[in-house]
């Protein structure tokens, strides 16, 4: 707190008044943070509570802490399998989305060509179309391509849903990279692809990390499309496995919360790893 007070510039240019009000702002921040993670912490607590004790009275702390819920979820209820499916789908979606969006964003950021605006706005228009909205024609399309009940089909849909925003986002970031770097590279005879991989990508790591994080969490968490496309339990992703599980036995809260923790930990880890870039990434990207 001393540091903040010692910084004189803040006193007249702070967002909230002439004094930094560090203590008040800190209190508000703590309350907001607790409200945000509270339900998740409660979920973790419940996952260690034996199932019999969850039903009935309100639980605040586990009376008989146990890890049996995790064992039941992971082994008896194939959460390990769902986890692997979700992981494959999410990783494939991230790799394809980041690669294709980078190529397209580079084209929009660096070239002028006939149809440029039209193609850009064609991509952008889909931001107005929520993914759930297209569930009927997408189901019929997948049916015709024999990709219903297929994780590969799901990856195609996720990549396609993520591309427009990621192109939009990366375009702003790429455009801010000075052209002079590229010219030096080109003089050495580097190809366009090489320029993107060796120069643009390393300079855009914050943006690429953010795009990867957004895309991963979308693919990892996505529910309506997976619900509509997947039928066979061995192909379920975690969200479908979880909702199917609770539908099958509504009183099995313990293993359900253990499964929920399993489904939440990877996205939180990826978010924590990438979050240090988020502020810079967003302010330099297309969202300025």
């Amino acid at each position: 707190m001393r540091r903040a007070v010692a910084k004189p510039a803040l006193s007249s240019t702070g967002l909230f008044g002439t004094r930094p009000k560090t203590r008040l702002r800190l209190a508000i921040a703590v309350v907001l943070a607790l409200l945000s993670v509270g339900p998740l912490i409660y979920m973790v607590i419940l996952s260690f509570q034996s199932n019999n004790d969850i039903e009935g009275d309100t639980v605040l702390l586990p009376t008989h802490p146990t890890t049996s819920n995790y064992v039941v979820a992971w082994t008896e209820n194939s959460f390990g399998h769902y986890f692997a499916n979700s992981f494959l789908v999410a990783i494939a979606t991230v790799i394809i989305t980041v690669s294709l969006a980078s190529l397209a964003a580079f084209a929009f950021a660096r070239y002028k060509f006939p149809g440029r605006e039209l193609i850009f706005y064609t991509f952008l228009a889909s931001l107005a179309i929520p993914p759930v909205l297209l569930i009927i024609p997408q189901f019929l399309l997948m049916d015709r391509l024999h990709l219903v009940d297929s994780l590969v089909g799901l990856v195609f849909l996720y990549v396609s849903a993520n591309l427009p925003f990621m192109i939009f986002f990366l375009r702003g970031f790429f455009a801010a990279i000075p052209r002079e770097y590229e010219e030096a590279f080109r003089l050495d005879g580097a190809s366009t692809l090489r320029v993107i991989v060796r120069l643009i990508a390393p300079l855009s790591l914050p943006a690429l990390a953010l795009v990867s994080m957004f895309t991963f969490s979308m693919a990892w968490d996505e529910f309506p499309l997976a619900l509509t496309m997947l039928n066979t339990p061995s192909r379920f992703t975690l969200p479908i496995g979880l909702s199917d599980f609770i539908g099958a036995h509504t009183t099995f809260w313990g293993p359900f919360f253990a499964g929920s923790v399993i489904a939440t930990v990877p996205v939180v880890i990826i978010f924590v790893v990438t979050q240090r870039w988020s502020r810079r990434g967003i302010s330099l990207g297309g969202l300025r």
């Binding site: 009927i136 195609f156 990549v159």
Partner: protein, 317 residues
């Protein structure tokens, strides 16, 4: 758009690769083809899996569509659309979707902006608070829906216990089984899960607030609300518009919460447009009618986004 000057006219250094240095003409052709080649994979996927379905959906909406193999799909003209306006469940669903937008969007913006304003300036351990506020955004809607269902469970739910402590009523409210309380639970979880997103956008946007203007306004004796109204909010206009458009679109696509928390019940009273659309298609197998409803919603959303962006452009001039 100053960053988009053409590469045209640059020397031979601009080529697809060292190997391709042949005649000047083929090189120029290649250079012209480069942006299209770069766009091709992304555009092809997008065209097949997003753009084509938009038109396909519109086409299906004019048929009495059956998905069963061999069944005939008679053309029915606009009748699926006229049916929409006489369907009482559509009216309920539209009202619920409207309420959803009106309740959750302003609250997410106000709380997100408030949180961003609180954390934008130097604060001890601010990275920790920032991460905590954003974490709900990356959690799975299925997990969140069931955690909230449990918090508001009639037996053993924390919400009823808290109410009992404060009001003395030991009545077990079955929150998710009633229309009004079910909606409240779903709005709460939507706001809880969404605030982090607007927060992070506003946090980045607040970096662009001209601090000298804040100082100048205060030296001129402007009150704090006045400073916000005249300096902070105007410089956030682009971010606010962006957040509003995407939150409205997000609220209009509400499906998972309803499907998981109330299943649209009791008696379709908590149905939203998207949850009803999916039920029509994949429970009742009325693909044509559901496609008409989806196409109509798409049209409204598209018009809304366009209007909002148009208004923003006007203000910037």
């Amino acid at each position: 758009m100053t960053t988009t000057t053409t590469l045209e006219g640059r020397p031979a250094a601009v080529s697809l690769g060292a190997a391709s240095r042949r005649s000047g003409r083929s090189q120029r052709a290649r250079r012209k083809a480069t942006p299209y080649l770069l766009l091709l994979p992304a555009f092809a996927l997008y065209a097949i899996f997003t753009a084509y379905p938009v038109f396909r959906q519109f086409e299906i909406s004019f048929f009495n569509w059956h998905i069963f193999p061999g069944a005939s799909n008679p053309f029915v003209g606009w009748s699926n659309y006229t049916k929409i306006f006489h369907d009482p469940i559509v009216r309920t669903a539209a009202w619920n979707s409207f309420l959803w937008i009106v309740v959750t969007v302003p609250l997410q913006i106000v709380i997100g902006l408030f949180a961003a304003g609180t954390l934008a300036d130097r604060l001890p351990a601010s990275a920790l608070w920032r991460a905590a506020i954003y974490i709900p955004v990356v959690t799975s809607p299925v997990v969140v829906a069931w955690v909230f269902s449990y918090l508001f469970a009639s037996q053993g739910g924390i919400a009823n216990s808290v109410l009992a402590v404060f009001t003395g009523h030991h009545e077990a409210i079955d929150w998710t089984a009633q229309t009004w309380t079910g909606n409240v639970v779903m709005w709460l979880l939507t706001i809880w899960k969404g605030v982090g997103w607007s927060f992070i956008i506003f946090l980045a946007a607040l970096d662009g607030v001209p601090r000298e203007l804040l100082e100048a306004a205060r030296i001129d004796g402007a009150s704090e609300p006045r400073v916000w109204r005249s300096v902070v909010i105007p410089s956030l206009r682009a971010a606010i518009t962006f957040v509003t458009v995407l939150l409205v679109i997000g609220a209009a696509q509400t499906f998972s919460q309803v499907y998981l928390v109330t299943s649209g019940g009791p008696y379709n009273s908590t149905q939203t447009l998207m949850s009803y659309m999916r039920q029509l298609a994949f429970i009742n197998f009325s693909f044509g009618y559901a496609a008409a409803l989806a196409s109509l919603v798409a049209l409204v959303l598209f018009g809304f986004s366009w209007a909002e962006i148009y208004v923003l452009r006007q203000q910037e001039l």
